[in-house]
Protein backbone atom coordinates (compact mmCIF):
# COMPACT_ATOMS: atom_id res chain seq x y z
CA UNK A 1 0.00 0.00 0.00
CA UNK A 2 2.77 2.41 0.89
CA UNK A 3 6.47 2.27 0.29
CA UNK A 4 7.47 3.80 3.59
CA UNK A 5 6.52 1.22 6.19
CA UNK A 6 7.26 1.71 9.89
CA UNK A 7 5.41 -1.23 11.42
CA UNK A 8 4.60 -4.53 9.81
CA UNK A 9 2.40 -7.24 11.31
CA UNK A 10 2.79 -10.81 10.05
CA UNK A 11 0.08 -13.36 10.88
CA UNK A 12 -0.52 -11.99 14.35
CA UNK A 13 -2.80 -13.93 16.67
CA UNK A 14 -3.48 -12.76 20.19
CA UNK A 15 -5.07 -14.63 23.09
CA UNK A 16 -6.47 -13.62 26.46
CA UNK A 17 -6.14 -16.98 28.21
CA UNK A 18 -7.98 -19.40 25.94
CA UNK A 19 -10.01 -16.87 23.99
CA UNK A 20 -8.62 -15.48 20.77
CA UNK A 21 -8.94 -11.70 20.49
CA UNK A 22 -7.12 -11.20 17.17
CA UNK A 23 -7.02 -13.61 14.23
CA UNK A 24 -4.28 -13.73 11.59
CA UNK A 25 -3.71 -10.01 11.33
CA UNK A 26 -1.24 -8.98 8.65
CA UNK A 27 -0.92 -5.29 7.87
CA UNK A 28 1.55 -2.46 7.59
CA UNK A 29 1.51 1.05 9.02
CA UNK A 30 2.93 3.88 6.95
CA UNK A 31 5.50 6.32 8.26
CA UNK A 32 4.22 9.83 9.02
CA UNK A 33 0.68 8.75 8.27
CA UNK A 34 -2.38 8.84 10.45
CA UNK A 35 -3.98 5.43 10.51
CA UNK A 36 -7.41 5.02 12.09
CA UNK A 37 -8.55 1.69 13.55
CA UNK A 38 -12.32 1.45 13.60
CA UNK A 39 -14.89 -1.19 14.43
CA UNK A 40 -17.56 -2.06 16.99
CA UNK A 41 -16.66 -2.52 20.66
CA UNK A 42 -14.78 -5.73 21.34
CA UNK A 43 -13.51 -6.04 17.78
CA UNK A 44 -9.89 -6.07 18.93
CA UNK A 45 -8.78 -2.64 17.72
CA UNK A 46 -7.63 -1.46 21.16
CA UNK A 47 -5.99 -4.82 21.76
CA UNK A 48 -4.08 -4.41 18.52
CA UNK A 49 -3.01 -0.91 19.50
CA UNK A 50 -1.73 -2.13 22.85
CA UNK A 51 0.20 -4.91 21.14
CA UNK A 52 2.29 -2.33 19.29
CA UNK A 53 3.98 -0.99 22.45
CA UNK A 54 3.75 -4.23 24.42
CA UNK A 55 1.26 -2.83 26.92
CA UNK A 56 -0.57 -6.15 26.80
CA UNK A 57 2.45 -7.65 28.55
CA UNK A 58 1.07 -6.13 31.74
CA UNK A 59 -2.01 -8.36 31.62
CA UNK A 60 -1.52 -11.87 32.98
CA UNK A 61 -2.30 -14.83 30.78
CA UNK A 62 -1.96 -13.18 27.38
CA UNK A 63 -0.14 -14.74 24.45
CA UNK A 64 1.05 -13.43 21.07
CA UNK A 65 1.72 -15.45 17.93
CA UNK A 66 3.27 -14.10 14.75
CA UNK A 67 5.62 -11.18 14.29
CA UNK A 68 5.35 -7.45 14.73
CA UNK A 69 8.24 -5.76 13.01
CA UNK A 70 9.30 -2.28 14.01
CA UNK A 71 12.37 -0.98 12.21
CA UNK A 72 12.71 -4.52 10.80
CA UNK A 73 13.00 -6.10 14.24
CA UNK A 74 10.35 -8.27 15.84
CA UNK A 75 9.34 -6.41 19.00
CA UNK A 76 8.28 -9.72 20.56
CA UNK A 77 11.69 -11.32 20.05
CA UNK A 78 13.10 -12.60 23.35
CA UNK A 79 16.06 -10.22 23.33
CA UNK A 80 13.89 -7.11 23.02
CA UNK A 81 13.31 -5.04 26.16
CA UNK A 82 9.70 -3.80 26.24
CA UNK A 83 10.88 -0.70 28.11
CA UNK A 84 12.95 0.33 25.05
CA UNK A 85 9.96 -0.25 22.75
CA UNK A 86 7.70 1.91 24.89
CA UNK A 87 10.20 4.74 24.82
CA UNK A 88 10.07 4.78 21.03
CA UNK A 89 6.34 4.15 20.71
CA UNK A 90 4.37 6.55 22.90
CA UNK A 91 0.77 6.14 23.97
CA UNK A 92 -2.17 8.38 24.80
CA UNK A 93 -5.07 6.79 26.63
CA UNK A 94 -8.84 7.03 26.44
CA UNK A 95 -9.21 8.79 29.77
CA UNK A 96 -6.76 11.63 30.37
CA UNK A 97 -4.37 10.22 32.98
CA UNK A 98 -1.88 12.82 34.13
CA UNK A 99 0.12 11.88 37.21
CA UNK A 100 -0.88 13.63 40.45
CA UNK A 101 2.26 15.73 40.07
CA UNK A 102 2.92 19.24 38.83
CA UNK A 103 2.45 20.03 35.14
CA UNK A 104 6.22 20.36 34.80
CA UNK A 105 6.93 17.04 36.46
CA UNK A 106 4.34 15.26 34.35
CA UNK A 107 6.31 16.20 31.25
CA UNK A 108 9.72 15.70 32.86
CA UNK A 109 8.88 12.25 34.23
CA UNK A 110 9.77 10.25 31.12
CA UNK A 111 12.86 12.22 30.04
CA UNK A 112 14.28 12.01 33.58
CA UNK A 113 14.04 8.22 33.39
CA UNK A 114 16.10 8.20 30.22
CA UNK A 115 18.73 10.38 31.84
CA UNK A 116 18.01 13.75 30.23
CA UNK A 117 20.07 16.26 32.21
CA UNK A 118 18.27 18.66 34.55
CA UNK A 119 19.68 21.59 32.56
CA UNK A 120 17.98 20.41 29.38
CA UNK A 121 14.63 19.67 30.97
CA UNK A 122 13.22 23.22 30.95
CA UNK A 123 13.65 23.53 27.21
CA UNK A 124 12.23 20.07 26.59
CA UNK A 125 9.17 20.77 28.74
CA UNK A 126 8.53 24.03 26.91
CA UNK A 127 9.03 22.44 23.51
CA UNK A 128 6.70 19.53 24.29
CA UNK A 129 3.97 21.80 25.65
CA UNK A 130 4.26 24.04 22.59
CA UNK A 131 3.97 21.03 20.31
CA UNK A 132 0.76 20.03 22.03
CA UNK A 133 -0.50 23.66 21.91
CA UNK A 134 -0.84 23.86 25.68
CA UNK A 135 2.10 26.13 26.45
CA UNK A 136 0.22 29.44 26.39
CA UNK A 137 -2.42 28.11 28.77
CA UNK A 138 -0.04 26.65 31.35
CA UNK A 139 3.27 28.52 31.09
CA UNK A 140 2.55 30.45 34.31
CA UNK A 141 1.31 27.48 36.32
CA UNK A 142 3.93 24.85 35.54
CA UNK A 143 4.38 24.16 39.22
CA UNK A 144 0.66 23.66 39.90
CA UNK A 145 -0.87 20.20 40.01
CA UNK A 146 -1.91 18.80 36.65
CA UNK A 147 -5.10 17.66 38.34
CA UNK A 148 -6.42 21.24 38.26
CA UNK A 149 -6.52 21.32 34.46
CA UNK A 150 -9.69 20.67 32.47
CA UNK A 151 -10.18 17.30 30.79
CA UNK A 152 -9.15 18.62 27.39
CA UNK A 153 -6.07 20.31 28.82
CA UNK A 154 -5.18 17.14 30.69
CA UNK A 155 -5.36 15.15 27.47
CA UNK A 156 -3.11 17.63 25.66
CA UNK A 157 -0.75 17.40 28.65
CA UNK A 158 -0.72 13.62 28.20
CA UNK A 159 0.12 14.11 24.53
CA UNK A 160 2.92 16.52 25.49
CA UNK A 161 4.15 13.98 28.01
CA UNK A 162 4.33 11.32 25.31
CA UNK A 163 6.03 13.75 22.87
CA UNK A 164 8.70 14.62 25.44
CA UNK A 165 10.08 11.11 24.93
CA UNK A 166 10.63 11.99 21.26
CA UNK A 167 8.89 8.84 20.09
CA UNK A 168 8.73 7.62 16.49
CA UNK A 169 5.13 6.56 16.77
CA UNK A 170 2.21 7.87 18.80
CA UNK A 171 -0.55 5.42 19.65
CA UNK A 172 -3.87 6.99 20.61
CA UNK A 173 -6.63 4.92 22.17
CA UNK A 174 -9.88 6.85 21.67
CA UNK A 175 -8.17 10.04 22.87
CA UNK A 176 -11.24 12.23 22.58
CA UNK A 177 -14.01 9.93 23.75
CA UNK A 178 -13.99 11.48 27.25
CA UNK A 179 -13.88 15.07 25.97
CA UNK A 180 -16.37 17.74 24.96
CA UNK A 181 -16.67 18.81 21.27
CA UNK A 182 -14.46 21.88 21.63
CA UNK A 183 -11.64 19.98 23.31
CA UNK A 184 -12.08 17.25 20.70
CA UNK A 185 -11.67 19.77 17.90
CA UNK A 186 -8.45 21.04 19.51
CA UNK A 187 -7.02 17.54 19.76
CA UNK A 188 -7.95 16.84 16.13
CA UNK A 189 -6.18 20.03 15.00
CA UNK A 190 -3.22 18.91 17.04
CA UNK A 191 -3.16 15.52 15.32
CA UNK A 192 -3.16 17.27 11.91
CA UNK A 193 -0.11 19.20 13.05
CA UNK A 194 1.69 16.24 14.64
CA UNK A 195 1.44 13.97 11.62
CA UNK A 196 4.11 16.05 9.90
CA UNK A 197 6.65 14.63 12.31
CA UNK A 198 5.14 11.51 13.78
CA UNK A 199 3.42 8.33 12.77
CA UNK A 200 0.03 8.24 14.45
CA UNK A 201 -2.17 5.21 14.96
CA UNK A 202 -5.52 6.09 16.47
CA UNK A 203 -8.41 3.97 17.67
CA UNK A 204 -11.71 5.77 17.40
CA UNK A 205 -15.42 5.09 17.71
CA UNK A 206 -16.19 8.33 15.96
CA UNK A 207 -16.64 7.76 12.19
CA UNK A 208 -16.46 11.45 11.37
CA UNK A 209 -13.26 11.72 13.32
CA UNK A 210 -11.68 8.85 11.41
CA UNK A 211 -12.82 10.40 8.12
CA UNK A 212 -11.54 13.86 9.10
CA UNK A 213 -8.09 13.10 10.40
CA UNK A 214 -6.79 9.82 9.00
CA UNK A 215 -4.96 8.91 5.82
CA UNK A 216 -5.62 5.21 6.09
CA UNK A 217 -8.44 3.37 7.83
CA UNK A 218 -8.62 -0.23 8.99
CA UNK A 219 -11.96 -1.80 9.84
CA UNK A 220 -11.98 -4.63 12.36
CA UNK A 221 -14.75 -7.03 13.22
CA UNK A 222 -14.57 -9.76 15.91
CA UNK A 223 -10.80 -9.95 15.88
CA UNK A 224 -10.46 -9.90 12.09
CA UNK A 225 -9.12 -7.21 9.82
CA UNK A 226 -12.01 -6.84 7.41
CA UNK A 227 -10.86 -4.01 5.22
CA UNK A 228 -7.83 -1.72 5.15
CA UNK A 229 -7.41 1.05 2.62
CA UNK A 230 -7.10 4.78 2.05
CA UNK A 231 -9.59 6.56 4.27
CA UNK A 232 -11.24 8.25 1.32
CA UNK A 233 -11.84 4.90 -0.32
CA UNK A 234 -13.16 3.25 2.86
CA UNK A 235 -15.63 6.05 3.45
CA UNK A 236 -16.82 6.42 -0.13
CA UNK A 237 -16.55 3.07 -1.88
CA UNK A 238 -15.72 0.28 0.58
CA UNK A 239 -15.07 -3.10 -1.01
CA UNK A 240 -16.76 -5.10 1.70
CA UNK A 241 -20.46 -4.88 2.48
CA UNK A 242 -19.79 -5.22 6.25
CA UNK A 243 -17.58 -2.12 6.22
CA UNK A 244 -20.24 -0.12 4.47
CA UNK A 245 -22.91 -1.31 6.91
CA UNK A 246 -20.76 -0.28 9.87
CA UNK A 247 -19.76 3.11 8.48
CA UNK A 248 -23.31 4.00 7.54
CA UNK A 249 -24.48 3.02 11.00
CA UNK A 250 -26.49 -0.06 10.05
CA UNK A 251 -24.80 -2.04 12.82
CA UNK A 252 -22.24 -1.53 15.56
Amino acid sequence: METNTIIKLKDVNFYYGQSRALTDISMTFGKNKVTALIGPSGCGKSTLLRLLNRMNDLIDGTRVEGEILFEDKNIYAPDIDPVEIRRKIGMVFQKPNPFPKTIYNNIAYGPKLTGVKAGDLDALVEQSLKQSVLWDEVKDILNKSAMNLSGGQQQRLCIARALAMKPDILLMDEPTSALDPISTAKIEELIEELKKHYTIIIVTHNMQQAARISDETAFFYIGNLVEYNKTEKIFTKPDVKQTEDYITGRFG
Partner: protein, 295 residues
Amino acid sequence: MNRQTKEIIIKYIFFLFALVSVIVLGLIVFSLFREGLPIFGKVSVKDFIFGMEWYPTYDPPSFGIFPLIVGSLIVTLLATVIAVPLGVMAAIYIAEIAPQAIKEILKSVIELLAGLPSVVLGFFGMVIVAPWLQDTFDLPTGLNIVNASVILALMAIPTISSISEDALYAVPREYKEASYALGATKFETIVQVILPAAMSGISTAVMLGMARAIGETMVVLMVAGGAAAIPESLFDSVRPMPASIAAEMGEAPFRSGHYQALFAIGIVLFFLTLFFNLFADYVSHKFRQIGSGTL
Protein backbone atom coordinates in the same frame (compact mmCIF):
# COMPACT_ATOMS: atom_id res chain seq x y z
CA MET B 1 -49.52 1.17 62.16
CA ASN B 2 -48.83 2.49 58.68
CA ARG B 3 -45.67 1.98 56.72
CA GLN B 4 -44.22 5.42 57.33
CA THR B 5 -44.51 5.16 61.10
CA LYS B 6 -42.75 1.81 60.92
CA GLU B 7 -39.94 3.34 58.88
CA ILE B 8 -39.53 6.11 61.42
CA ILE B 9 -39.49 3.68 64.33
CA ILE B 10 -36.91 1.50 62.58
CA LYS B 11 -34.80 4.56 61.89
CA TYR B 12 -34.76 5.52 65.57
CA ILE B 13 -34.01 1.98 66.72
CA PHE B 14 -30.87 1.99 64.57
CA PHE B 15 -30.01 5.47 65.82
CA LEU B 16 -30.23 4.17 69.41
CA PHE B 17 -27.90 1.28 68.66
CA ALA B 18 -25.45 3.66 67.04
CA LEU B 19 -25.71 5.89 70.06
CA VAL B 20 -24.76 3.09 72.49
CA SER B 21 -21.07 3.14 71.60
CA VAL B 22 -20.98 6.93 71.83
CA ILE B 23 -22.60 6.84 75.27
CA VAL B 24 -20.29 4.09 76.49
CA LEU B 25 -17.24 6.02 75.30
CA GLY B 26 -18.55 9.13 77.02
CA LEU B 27 -19.05 7.25 80.29
CA ILE B 28 -15.58 5.72 80.15
CA VAL B 29 -13.95 9.08 79.55
CA PHE B 30 -16.05 10.58 82.32
CA SER B 31 -15.03 7.95 84.89
CA LEU B 32 -11.42 8.16 83.73
CA PHE B 33 -11.43 11.87 84.49
CA ARG B 34 -13.46 11.54 87.70
CA GLU B 35 -11.00 9.02 89.16
CA GLY B 36 -7.84 10.56 87.76
CA LEU B 37 -8.22 14.31 88.05
CA PRO B 38 -8.17 14.48 91.93
CA ILE B 39 -4.45 13.58 91.84
CA PHE B 40 -3.79 17.09 90.62
CA GLY B 41 -4.86 18.35 94.04
CA LYS B 42 -1.83 16.51 95.46
CA VAL B 43 0.67 17.17 92.69
CA SER B 44 0.79 19.83 89.97
CA VAL B 45 0.26 18.84 86.34
CA LYS B 46 3.80 19.91 85.59
CA ASP B 47 5.32 17.84 88.40
CA PHE B 48 3.16 14.89 87.42
CA ILE B 49 4.13 14.87 83.75
CA PHE B 50 7.73 16.03 84.07
CA GLY B 51 8.52 14.58 87.49
CA MET B 52 11.46 12.19 87.33
CA GLU B 53 10.51 9.94 90.23
CA TRP B 54 7.74 7.39 90.25
CA TYR B 55 7.54 6.14 93.88
CA PRO B 56 3.79 5.89 94.38
CA THR B 57 3.98 3.68 97.49
CA TYR B 58 6.66 5.59 99.39
CA ASP B 59 5.87 7.87 102.27
CA PRO B 60 5.62 10.60 101.15
CA PRO B 61 4.82 9.25 97.66
CA SER B 62 6.28 10.74 94.50
CA PHE B 63 4.13 10.82 91.38
CA GLY B 64 6.44 11.81 88.51
CA ILE B 65 5.59 9.87 85.36
CA PHE B 66 8.19 11.30 82.99
CA PRO B 67 10.20 8.04 82.94
CA LEU B 68 7.00 6.15 82.08
CA ILE B 69 6.18 8.56 79.23
CA VAL B 70 9.74 8.28 77.92
CA GLY B 71 9.49 4.49 78.21
CA SER B 72 6.27 4.45 76.19
CA LEU B 73 7.54 6.82 73.52
CA ILE B 74 10.87 5.13 73.06
CA VAL B 75 9.49 1.60 72.63
CA THR B 76 6.80 2.97 70.30
CA LEU B 77 9.32 4.89 68.20
CA LEU B 78 11.75 2.02 67.93
CA ALA B 79 8.89 -0.36 67.12
CA THR B 80 7.79 2.05 64.38
CA VAL B 81 11.29 2.24 62.96
CA ILE B 82 11.33 -1.55 62.75
CA ALA B 83 7.74 -2.07 61.62
CA VAL B 84 7.34 0.63 58.95
CA PRO B 85 9.93 -0.63 56.47
CA LEU B 86 8.85 -4.23 57.00
CA GLY B 87 5.13 -3.48 56.81
CA VAL B 88 5.32 -1.12 53.83
CA MET B 89 7.71 -3.35 51.87
CA ALA B 90 5.49 -6.34 52.51
CA ALA B 91 2.49 -4.34 51.30
CA ILE B 92 4.35 -3.29 48.13
CA TYR B 93 5.38 -6.86 47.47
CA ILE B 94 1.85 -8.16 48.00
CA ALA B 95 0.08 -5.42 46.06
CA GLU B 96 2.45 -4.92 43.15
CA ILE B 97 4.95 -7.69 42.73
CA ALA B 98 3.95 -11.07 44.12
CA PRO B 99 2.36 -13.72 41.88
CA GLN B 100 -1.22 -14.57 42.83
CA ALA B 101 -0.42 -17.77 44.75
CA ILE B 102 2.31 -16.23 46.92
CA LYS B 103 0.13 -13.17 47.47
CA GLU B 104 -2.66 -15.29 48.96
CA ILE B 105 -0.30 -17.16 51.28
CA LEU B 106 1.47 -14.00 52.47
CA LYS B 107 -1.77 -12.21 53.14
CA SER B 108 -3.16 -14.98 55.29
CA VAL B 109 0.09 -15.36 57.22
CA ILE B 110 0.13 -11.64 57.99
CA GLU B 111 -3.52 -11.81 59.07
CA LEU B 112 -2.60 -14.72 61.30
CA LEU B 113 0.12 -12.60 62.89
CA ALA B 114 -2.54 -9.98 63.63
CA GLY B 115 -4.70 -12.65 65.21
CA LEU B 116 -2.05 -13.86 67.68
CA PRO B 117 -3.05 -12.93 71.24
CA SER B 118 -0.62 -10.37 72.60
CA VAL B 119 0.10 -12.58 75.61
CA VAL B 120 1.44 -15.24 73.25
CA LEU B 121 3.73 -12.72 71.61
CA GLY B 122 4.79 -11.52 75.07
CA PHE B 123 5.54 -15.09 76.05
CA PHE B 124 7.65 -15.49 72.92
CA GLY B 125 9.55 -12.33 73.90
CA MET B 126 10.12 -13.61 77.43
CA VAL B 127 11.32 -17.13 76.75
CA ILE B 128 12.96 -16.81 73.31
CA VAL B 129 14.01 -13.23 72.58
CA ALA B 130 15.04 -12.25 76.12
CA PRO B 131 17.54 -15.09 76.78
CA TRP B 132 18.94 -14.66 73.27
CA LEU B 133 19.48 -10.92 73.80
CA GLN B 134 20.97 -11.55 77.21
CA ASP B 135 23.47 -14.13 75.95
CA THR B 136 24.36 -12.41 72.70
CA PHE B 137 24.98 -8.95 74.11
CA ASP B 138 26.02 -10.06 77.58
CA LEU B 139 23.31 -8.06 79.36
CA PRO B 140 22.02 -8.21 82.94
CA THR B 141 18.52 -8.76 81.52
CA GLY B 142 16.97 -9.46 78.14
CA LEU B 143 13.74 -7.76 79.18
CA ASN B 144 14.42 -4.31 77.74
CA ILE B 145 13.60 -1.65 75.14
CA VAL B 146 14.89 -3.65 72.18
CA ASN B 147 12.91 -6.73 73.14
CA ALA B 148 9.68 -4.80 73.71
CA SER B 149 10.15 -2.85 70.46
CA VAL B 150 10.69 -5.98 68.39
CA ILE B 151 7.56 -7.62 69.78
CA LEU B 152 5.49 -4.42 69.40
CA ALA B 153 6.77 -4.14 65.83
CA LEU B 154 5.46 -7.65 65.17
CA MET B 155 2.07 -6.47 66.39
CA ALA B 156 2.12 -3.26 64.34
CA ILE B 157 3.26 -4.87 61.08
CA PRO B 158 -0.15 -6.40 60.17
CA THR B 159 -1.89 -3.04 60.74
CA ILE B 160 0.65 -1.13 58.70
CA SER B 161 0.86 -3.72 55.96
CA SER B 162 -2.86 -4.27 55.42
CA ILE B 163 -3.79 -0.57 55.42
CA SER B 164 -0.83 0.28 53.16
CA GLU B 165 -1.88 -2.53 50.84
CA ASP B 166 -5.38 -1.06 50.53
CA ALA B 167 -3.82 2.33 49.78
CA LEU B 168 -1.66 0.79 47.05
CA TYR B 169 -4.63 -1.00 45.49
CA ALA B 170 -6.51 2.29 45.44
CA VAL B 171 -3.90 3.89 43.17
CA PRO B 172 -5.69 4.16 39.82
CA ARG B 173 -4.55 1.70 37.19
CA GLU B 174 -4.30 4.63 34.76
CA TYR B 175 -1.26 6.01 36.59
CA LYS B 176 0.59 2.75 36.27
CA GLU B 177 -0.29 2.41 32.60
CA ALA B 178 0.84 5.98 31.94
CA SER B 179 4.14 5.28 33.64
CA TYR B 180 4.78 2.02 31.80
CA ALA B 181 3.79 3.60 28.49
CA LEU B 182 6.54 6.19 29.03
CA GLY B 183 9.09 3.44 29.29
CA ALA B 184 9.37 3.26 33.06
CA THR B 185 10.38 -0.03 34.64
CA LYS B 186 8.31 -1.67 37.34
CA PHE B 187 10.66 -0.39 40.04
CA GLU B 188 10.59 3.18 38.70
CA THR B 189 6.80 3.03 38.51
CA ILE B 190 6.50 1.82 42.10
CA VAL B 191 8.91 4.38 43.55
CA GLN B 192 7.95 7.43 41.49
CA VAL B 193 4.25 6.98 40.79
CA ILE B 194 2.56 4.37 42.96
CA LEU B 195 4.18 5.18 46.31
CA PRO B 196 3.62 8.97 46.10
CA ALA B 197 0.01 8.40 45.07
CA ALA B 198 -0.53 6.05 48.01
CA MET B 199 1.34 8.23 50.50
CA SER B 200 -1.71 9.48 52.35
CA GLY B 201 -2.96 5.97 53.00
CA ILE B 202 0.49 4.75 53.99
CA SER B 203 0.92 7.62 56.46
CA THR B 204 -2.44 6.74 57.98
CA ALA B 205 -1.28 3.14 58.24
CA VAL B 206 1.87 4.22 60.07
CA MET B 207 -0.08 6.41 62.50
CA LEU B 208 -2.56 3.65 63.28
CA GLY B 209 0.31 1.20 63.71
CA MET B 210 1.89 3.59 66.23
CA ALA B 211 -1.42 4.02 68.04
CA ARG B 212 -1.62 0.25 68.26
CA ALA B 213 1.88 0.05 69.71
CA ILE B 214 1.58 2.84 72.26
CA GLY B 215 -1.62 1.47 73.80
CA GLU B 216 -0.47 -2.14 73.86
CA THR B 217 -0.23 -3.39 77.44
CA MET B 218 0.48 -7.09 77.74
CA VAL B 219 3.65 -7.11 75.67
CA VAL B 220 5.31 -4.20 77.46
CA LEU B 221 4.21 -5.61 80.81
CA MET B 222 5.91 -8.89 80.02
CA VAL B 223 9.07 -7.90 78.16
CA ALA B 224 9.97 -4.23 78.78
CA GLY B 225 11.58 -5.01 82.12
CA GLY B 226 9.59 -2.62 84.32
CA ALA B 227 12.25 -0.14 85.47
CA ALA B 228 10.69 3.28 86.10
CA ALA B 229 13.81 5.23 85.15
CA ILE B 230 14.97 7.19 82.13
CA PRO B 231 16.86 4.66 80.01
CA GLU B 232 20.45 5.34 79.05
CA SER B 233 20.78 2.71 76.34
CA LEU B 234 18.48 0.67 74.14
CA PHE B 235 19.28 -2.35 76.27
CA ASP B 236 17.94 -0.75 79.47
CA SER B 237 14.64 -1.79 80.97
CA VAL B 238 11.73 0.64 80.87
CA ARG B 239 8.25 0.82 82.31
CA PRO B 240 5.83 2.10 79.65
CA MET B 241 2.58 3.66 80.87
CA PRO B 242 0.18 0.79 80.13
CA ALA B 243 2.52 -1.63 81.93
CA SER B 244 2.49 0.58 85.03
CA ILE B 245 -1.28 0.71 85.13
CA ALA B 246 -1.68 -3.03 84.62
CA ALA B 247 1.00 -3.99 87.12
CA GLU B 248 0.04 -1.60 89.91
CA MET B 249 -3.73 -1.22 89.76
CA GLY B 250 -4.29 -4.45 91.68
CA GLU B 251 -2.31 -3.30 94.69
CA ALA B 252 -3.32 0.38 94.75
CA PRO B 253 -5.88 1.08 97.53
CA PHE B 254 -9.23 2.34 96.24
CA ARG B 255 -9.14 6.13 95.62
CA SER B 256 -5.71 6.51 97.17
CA GLY B 257 -3.20 8.88 95.61
CA HIS B 258 -1.60 5.93 93.82
CA TYR B 259 -4.96 4.83 92.42
CA GLN B 260 -5.72 8.36 91.20
CA ALA B 261 -2.25 8.69 89.68
CA LEU B 262 -2.77 5.48 87.70
CA PHE B 263 -6.04 6.83 86.34
CA ALA B 264 -4.27 10.06 85.48
CA ILE B 265 -1.73 8.01 83.50
CA GLY B 266 -4.77 6.61 81.72
CA ILE B 267 -5.80 10.17 80.86
CA VAL B 268 -2.34 10.88 79.41
CA LEU B 269 -2.53 7.69 77.35
CA PHE B 270 -6.00 8.61 76.19
CA PHE B 271 -4.75 11.94 74.88
CA LEU B 272 -1.73 10.33 73.22
CA THR B 273 -3.80 7.80 71.30
CA LEU B 274 -6.37 10.47 70.51
CA PHE B 275 -3.54 12.56 69.10
CA PHE B 276 -2.29 9.70 66.94
CA ASN B 277 -5.77 9.07 65.56
CA LEU B 278 -6.46 12.73 64.89
CA PHE B 279 -3.08 13.09 63.26
CA ALA B 280 -3.72 10.02 61.11
CA ASP B 281 -7.01 11.57 60.06
CA TYR B 282 -5.37 14.91 59.33
CA VAL B 283 -2.59 13.32 57.29
CA SER B 284 -5.02 11.28 55.22
CA HIS B 285 -6.99 14.43 54.37
CA LYS B 286 -3.99 16.65 53.87
CA PHE B 287 -2.35 14.44 51.27
CA ARG B 288 -5.57 13.47 49.58
CA GLN B 289 -5.36 14.31 45.91
CA ILE B 290 -7.90 16.19 43.92
CA GLY B 291 -9.36 15.10 40.62
CA SER B 292 -9.34 11.57 39.32
CA GLY B 293 -6.45 10.75 41.60
CA THR B 294 -8.54 10.72 44.75
CA LEU B 295 -7.68 7.79 46.95
